[in-house]
Symmetry: C2
Subunit: 195 residues, 2 copies
Amino acid sequence: MNAIDRLTALLTKLPGIGKKSAGRMAYYILDADPSYAGFLAEQLSTLHTLIKRCSVCGSFTETDPCPICSDPGRDPAIICVVERAQDVRVIEESREFQGRFHVLGGLIAPLEGVSPEDLSIGQLLNRVRRDNVKEVILAMNPTVEGDTTALYLQKLLKDTNAEVTRLASGLPVGGDLEYTDRLTLSRSFRGRIRM
Amino acid sequence: MNAIDRLTALLTKLPGIGKKSAGRMAYYILDADPSYAGFLAEQLSTLHTLIKRCSVCGSFTETDPCPICSDPGRDPAIICVVERAQDVRVIEESREFQGRFHVLGGLIAPLEGVSPEDLSIGQLLNRVRRDNVKEVILAMNPTVEGDTTALYLQKLLKDTNAEVTRLASGLPVGGDLEYTDRLTLSRSFRGRIRM
């Protein structure tokens, strides 16, 4: 196994990268100016020392607390609960949300051995009580695990003053009824809104 | 711009990797055991010192000449000419070819400023004459640039003893006439073979 094969094998572990794409990437890096491989190597070796988890919300950050948790312009009384740290970025890019975040670190999935204790649910409840949170928006994916986790959190949060909401599920904008699966269509009916 | 953004920006330069995939990859690396980022960084920083170009055929190799050029079991009288070093691997994986290779390093493309002098055409002619090559298989992609380069090489090689052939172009195995473009269909007609 030569150096190209070793690099290709490592790249194959990345999400969505198969053997062919990994090979294309390895050869691209070889063909490119060696400084590119150098920059990439440098970023990779410093990544885990520079980036930590925010002690408040659990998202990835260079400063603790993270820029969102320490921004006085963001409403601490509204918390958006997401599964993973990268979901924070997706929601931030939509510029739709002005509150704070809470990263669960996963979803309840008994078959995969993930129970509520493995998630940062205790910290969420503490934050909700301490900051007298008015609304908790559950923004987990609309999957079986996402819905299970949302239901679980909703029951726990009943004892607090927070209103619990869930992101709407339905037809994607620009989508087509004909290509929409049955479950999504059924949800978009149940969640229909008055015009 | 924090460390995640810098890594994402670098990953976006890889072939076939858009902003979303690069972000997914960066977060995967963050989530994974730090040793993975370490291994990847190590492979990237040693890649260009370990891998060189074979002085005979121009493909990437750790030893010079490369394992194929120095393999006495591979027929030096048949040369398969490819555009890029990674094409050697693709052909090797098919186990169809038992001769040697020659990497041109590109294709003639006047609009992009690539002229015959930029390619290793002189070295190819030297090899063909020196090793008394019987056949030169032109394995460039069936594109405008690939065909132009093939035609150019065919003219130059007329003065040698080598027979010049070109990979067959036509319907892909398992393909469907209905989804085949007009040019490919036309080529598969012109190149039809007697059964």
